[in-house]
């Protein structure tokens, strides 16, 4: 192996250590030498386990095949004290580039299929999440418990009745969380369409980072706003795709 390429490193982890954080940029690939890890995603503050992996198995490789263009798709945490070997993908990337084209041709299709399946799975999961929340996983004093919270904002949005394709009304998002939004709405809107609790709306807006977000939510609370003729409506999300959830979650990260 050429001297100028980074060598593989052996890393020791204690049980319950975070190895990979979903949503982060990362290119290391890890081979499990000893121990056991859990691969999971987070949904509304809860962990959804995707897999358990043991010695000989590899994790983090998706970023290699997507050339590091996608953020980490899932998180990885050790279940037991473990030893992981970290591979820097640069050597492998060079090798992959120079490998027989036929193999790349085939595997490129495999990768596309995997990304597609992951998308469909996430959509199926988000639909399910709306009907039945996943059971919370008990964590033994985990140091890395993520807390999703409500962030105060001032973002213009458009919204419309859930059964219509139009987003006829405008409002301002005053606070945002993964569970819902608080909208400041003009009284005249309330006269045009029913905003009583339980009514569902489609809400769409653009985050400060340029990411477009849209989801369905239902009214759970109404109260007078701070300025005259304005009302503050509390919404709870009822249908949000995995992509949108990721965008919001990313925005909310401290």
């Amino acid at each position: 192996m050429p001297e100028e390429y980074p060598k593989n490193r052996q890393l020791k982890f204690k049980a319950d250590d975070l190895v990979i954080k979903g949503g982060d940029y990362g290119i290391s690939i890890y081979k499990i030498i000893e121990g056991r890890v859990k691969v999971y995603t987070e949904w509304e503050g809860r962990e959804i386990t995707l897999a358990y992996l043991g010695p000989g198995e590899v994790v983090g490789e998706m970023s290699f095949f997507s050339m590091g263009m996608e953020v980490r798709a899932a998180s990885v945490r050790t279940e037991t004290d473990s030893i992981l070997e970290a591979w820097h993908p640069s050597t492998l990337q060079k090798e992959y580039e120079n490998s027989p084209s036929i193999l790349k041709y085939i595997l490129d299709q495999t990768l596309q299929r995997l990304l597609q399946i992951n998308k469909i799975t996430a959509e199926l999961n988000s639909k399910r999440g709306g009907k039945k929340a996943p059971t919370p996983v008990k964590k033994k004093g985990s140091r890395n418990q993520r807390k999703y919270y409500r962030k105060e904002t001032n973002i213009e949005c458009r919204y419309g009745a859930a059964d219509s394709k139009e987003l006829r009304y405008s409002a301002t998002i005053k606070d945002l969380s993964l569970k819902g939004v608080g909208l400041s709405v003009s009284g005249s809107n309330l006269q045009k369409v029913d905003h009583s609790t339980g009514t569902r709306f489609n809400i769409a807006f653009t985050l400060p980072n340029g990411k477009k977000v849209a989801f369905e939510a239902q009214v759970v609370a109404i109260r007078a706003g701070s300025s005259r003729g304005a009302f503050l409506l509390g919404f709870s999300t009822t249908d949000i795709s995995y992509e949108n959830q990721k965008s919001v979650g990313f925005f909310l990260m401290p």
């Binding site: 590899v58 095949f65 591979w87 036929i102 193999l103 085939i106 995997l114 469909i120 199926l124």
Partner: protein, 136 residues
């Protein structure tokens, strides 16, 4: 869509299948990789609720690679069924094997992992999809 000349150079025997003919059966032994030359085919998995179509393969689509890039099982993970008349061809297995064997163990490992991921992700998705249908 013209087929990449690269693929043509690996093509060995051509086979033609009629509509609905089973090209590969789930659970069959075999690790040849194939490519669609003309027409299209469906990739399907068997579930309690019958066959679920996972993907449509078109001209230039490779299939059968799951068993090729596998440490252990050389069993077909899904069935491939002709969707209208279809012409497929096997890719020279000796050349593929030789070229794969020339890669570093780590790169080989990564390729096995990618394919294993697809197999696991597909199984999970199918369970989820079938499970949902039962509820509604």
């Amino acid at each position: 869509m013209a087929l990449d000349p690269l693929i043509i150079s690996y093509v060995t025997n051509e086979e033609t299948y009629q509509d609905k003919a089973v090209i590969l059966n789930e659970g069959d032994h075999g690790d040849w990789v194939y490519v669609i030359l003309e027409g299209q085919a469906k990739v399907q998995k068997k579930t309690k609720k019958g066959y679920v179509t996972l993907a449509i393969l078109r001209e230039g689509s490779a299939f059968g690679e799951m068993a090729f890039f596998s440490h252990k099982s050389k069993l077909r993970t899904a069935r491939v069924v002709a969707d209208g008349p279809v012409v497929i061809a096997g890719l020279d297995p000796v050349r593929l094997r030789t070229e794969f064997a020339s890669l570093s163990p780590q790169l080989q490992e990564l390729m096995y992992t990618l394919v294993a991921r697809l197999e696991m992700a597909t199984s999970n998705m199918v369970k989820l999809a079938v499970g949902q249908k039962k509820k509604t």
